[in-house]
Amino acid sequence: MSADALASGGPVSTTGRDRRRVRKSPVKQLLGLAGIIGFLGTWELIPRLGIINERFLPPASEVIAALVRDFGLTAFWISVGETMTAWFLGLVIAVVLAVLLGFIIGSSDFLRKATNSTVEFLRPIPSVALIPLAVLLFGIKIESSLMLITYAAFWQVLIQVLYGVADIDMVANNTARTYGLGRMARIRYVVFPTALPYLMTGVRLAATVALVLAITAELVIGSPGLGHEIALAQSGGAISGMYALVLATGLIGVLINSLMRLIEKKTLSWHSSVRSEVIV
């Protein structure tokens, strides 16, 4: 009778599960696509139904057409390249600084307390308020953007790292201590992996903040890049062109996020947030 159950129920359900497993990730991407299409559809309808005048908010299709046109222009890709360079450099500087400082401050109660008020004071200072200073120091070159990007992204990562460092499991940490792991070794083998999920969220937040700031800096200061192009389009009254560039910005954001997710999957496969996706 048990053999019966195996013969009838077993293989069928096994293959059923297998098929689901194989199709899992394309389904996920399709769903994501559906979400985007839903959003674009809504956008298309708002001006088409006259909720907002088409001249002020062109329908999605028109903007996408403009974007496709942009794709054919080298100038567009140069701008993208400039923005991405500023983004990448700014992000890397911010992450490196924040991780270093975060681990140093986070692993000492004294430093944590002593820096708290200063950190909280500096954090809410808007990058835009630093524009005169940035221009004064660096002119309207990429360094100005870098300074603003780094400043904004730095805090995102720092705070996440501080929280992550505070989250270590005492049993794990004690184990490491009794096995004679010194401060540096514990940071490397215990604190860092514990803080990693927090850090990844921080980097993900910072990656977008850096992008936003890269664009904003170009927009307000005028250093070359997509933001500058947006400003040009805006001041030239090229509404569809402007939204096409905004769309491009958003797409870069989506791209960056997928990249981050990929890195996260590789580095955090042991973590229960990622684990729960893989198993069962």
Binding site: G32, G35, R123, T216, G253, E277
Partner: protein, 257 residues
């Protein structure tokens, strides 16, 4: 004694930095970097007057509404998105899309949709503050301990009870990390929201000072922002201590000695 010690921790580094700043402005005079004295002189003059009522308070009101709304949206959305896998798959790319759009570009669209109103400014604040809370909540919800989650399941703790008793508390350390990020982002966005289509407000005033080269005044505004940040953060840390008492207790078990 304990209060003195806390005060020492709060003030030591800032005092040190101000001294450093003072020392560095002794020799060279830079138009864009005022001396501490000039700044403090302007500080009282600029902010302790009618401006406090006409500019600072309304801005703070919008900030508060924006941040609270962002937290609510972030937590509710995060719990939903974090626990429903297909929803996450459906929405993630779109959310990432919106996240990448700089608020200054978003403002004109929001003006179109909502007009030049306070709610538009609140919307700008929400549009930026919601992300840290949302992302952290999603991550926190995804990271609920497997054994704990199983326990809840077997005791029939599902739906709302599960959220209330398992998911929210378990994700709360991470949610708090997000909220803390949001608070300072909120201040930044408050300034950004007042950079456009505005005629009053704390952020507007600072930008106005900047444009009219009233440099010490501008820096004094930045100091106001910083102080607000510190105040908000201290209130927040106090609240967090209470909400996460179990968590800190657990973490500090060994410090109890």
């Amino acid at each position: 004694m304990k209060i003195l010690k806390t005060l020492g921790f709060v003030l030591a580094l800032p005092v040190l930095l101000v001294l450093l700043w003072w020392a560095s402005t002794l020799g060279a005079v830079n138009f864009f970097v005022p001396t501490p004295a000039a700044l403090f002189a302007k500080f009282g003059e600029v902010w302790f007057g009618p401006r406090f009522v006409t500019d600072v308070l309304p801005s703070l009101g919008r900030l508060l509404v924006g941040v609270v709304a962002a937290i609510i949206i972030g937590v509710v959305g995060g719990v939903l998105i974090g626990s429903v896998k297909w929803l996450r798959a459906l929405l993630e790319p779109t959310l990432e899309f919106f996240r990448a759009i700089p608020p200054p570009v978003l403002v004109p669209v929001l003006i179109l949709l909502m007009g030049i109103t306070d709610s538009m400014k609140v919307a700008v604040i929400i549009s930026g503050c919601v992300w840290p809370v949302l992302l952290n909540t999603i991550e926190g919800v995804r990271a609920v301990d497997g054994v704990l989650s199983d326990s809840a399941h077997t005791y029939g703790i599902n739906g709302w009870a599960r959220v209330r008793y398992l998911v929210l508390p378990s994700a709360s350390p991470q949610i708090m990390a997000g909220v803390r990020q949001s608070l300072s982002l909120g201040l930044i966005l408050m300034v950004i929201s007042e950079m456009f289509a505005s005629s009053s407000g704390l952020g507007f005033t600072i930008v106005q000072f900047q444009r009219s080269f009233a440099i010490p005044e501008m820096w004094s505004g930045i100091v106001v922002l910083g102080l607000l940040g510190v105040a908000m953060s201290f209130i927040f840390q106090w609240a967090e201590r209470n909400i996460l008492r179990w968590y800190h207790g657990q973490k500090e078990v060994e410090n109890a000695a």
